[in-house]
């Protein structure tokens, strides 16, 4: 489950799309291909945002990648390029979070005019890295996996408790036998004491 790119774009009302910030994770590609792949990704994100309507989300399949895109009502858009296995919900959560952070850091008037080199938003690569493993970063998947582990542990515990029950059953029987035998022992001892007084 990998994330390849995470980018924030601005879609102006007349249809043009500007890329405001992007982060890429291209270590799985060969060194010489990285440049072209990066450009291809940016281009794909732009086109997809152009084609996506306002206030909507989409997940587009593109060869072996899926692009999750979300365009907000204030024309800010986020694109996440991931592989097939990455859960859609986590990707959209990531987009939401990144867009919220972006809009809080950089004011809205700057979006149409600001250039990519001037944008001061450095946490994008960190987010990309963090969300590489959805199990750890997304709270809900983490809770889910923890709960499943706990359930397995509890099932094991139940089985052990059942075994304990069986052993306790065993012990009860043995202790009952022991008690019977000691009682017979006592009776015999008492008998020997009482019967041979005549001699």
């Amino acid at each position: 489950m990998k994330l390849f790119a995470l980018s924030v774009l601005y879609k102006s009302p007349d249809g043009k799309v500007n890329q405001l910030k992007a982060a890429h994770e291209l270590s799985s590609f060969g060194y010489f291909q990285r440049g072209s792949i990066k450009e291809f990704m940016d281009f794909t994100s732009k086109i997809i945002v152009e084609r996506t309507a306002q206030c909507s989300r989409a997940s587009v399949k593109e060869q072996e990648y899926i692009c999750h895109v979300s365009v907000r009502s204030d024309n800010l858009a986020g694109v996440v390029i991931a592989d097939h296995e990455y859960p859609q919900r986590v990707a959209h959560t990531l987009i939401n979070r990144v867009l919220d952070e972006f809009s809080s850091k950089i004011s809205q008037q700057q979006w149409p005019v600001i250039k990519e080199s001037e944008v001061n938003f450095t946490t994008l690569p960190d987010h990309l890295q963090k969300y590489q493993d959805p199990k750890q970063s997304d709270a809900m998947t983490r809770i889910q996996s923890d709960l499943d582990e706990t359930k397995i542990i509890l099932y094991n515990t139940m089985e052990q408790v059942l075994e304990r029950g069986e052993k306790l059953d065993d012990l009860v029987e043995k202790s009952e036998g022991l008690s019977m035998q000691s009682k017979t022992f006592y009776k015999t001892a008492k008998k020997t004491n009482s019967c041979c007084v005549i001699l």
Binding site: R57, R89, L154, L171, S175, N193
Partner: protein
Amino acid sequence: MTCRDRSNEFLSAVKLLQSRQGNGLVMPKQRRDLRARSEFNVIAKRIGRDLANTFAKLEKLTLLAKRKSLFDDKPVEIQELTYIIKQDINSLNKQIAQLQELSRSQRAQNGKHAQTHSNSVVVALQSKLASMSNDFKGVLEVRTENLKHQKERRDQFSQAGATSLPPSSMGPGGQTKSLLYEEENRQNGGSDFAINMDGLDKNQHQQQLQLVDQQDAYIQSRADTMQNIESTIVELGSIFTQLAHMVQEQEEMVGRIDANIEDTQMNIEAAHSEILKYFQSVTSNRWLMIKIFGVLIVFFIIFVVFMA
């Protein structure tokens, strides 16, 4: 429980008796005791009367909540009534707690019988309050069921696109009775003596259902995950209770083993002492030794005589 306060009659009877006997010294103490008892009785009477009133209101609420028609519902009245009843139950709680404090503080002055009497009065009032809160809770549950049915019927007859807000973390309100949501409300409104009033807030929120949000797959999937998580947690809870139950059952077996072993130990001790007694009797029994030697010598002589 409405108790008639006949302490005035009692006081007058006492005065009559005392004037006949002329026993003036004991009077002040008795009067103080009587005053304390009558104070207790006055408060208990008041609480009983309030309980009866609240019962009547609860009856009315039950009637209102049971109505199932789609258009004749009076939500405002029902809400007001539930609010009033909740306040009443809370104040009754406090009053009963005060009464209990009073009876404890009067422990020094009263005799044993008076103490048990006040205790049983307090316990009776508490049990009445508890049963009333149970009924209240039942009525609220019935009301939420009805609301749910009404909403379903309304959806059936209204246009498409009327989807309910899933119980996501974004906002309150939802059609499914999410336990998480109930838990939240339980923390918000609880009382010490009565049972929890979780149904009340749920009512208010369900009535504010907002059908505005668009059908969004993302939110839907979040909601599904949340529901999954919630059901898992509930399952875990039940597994825990089962586990506790089983361990408790086995506890009893452990007790039996313990008893058996103790029995065994006792028996063995007793048998040990018996054998010791026997040993004592044998070793210090000179008569026995003489007898045995006598028998041996007799046999020896017979043997020798008949052989030779």
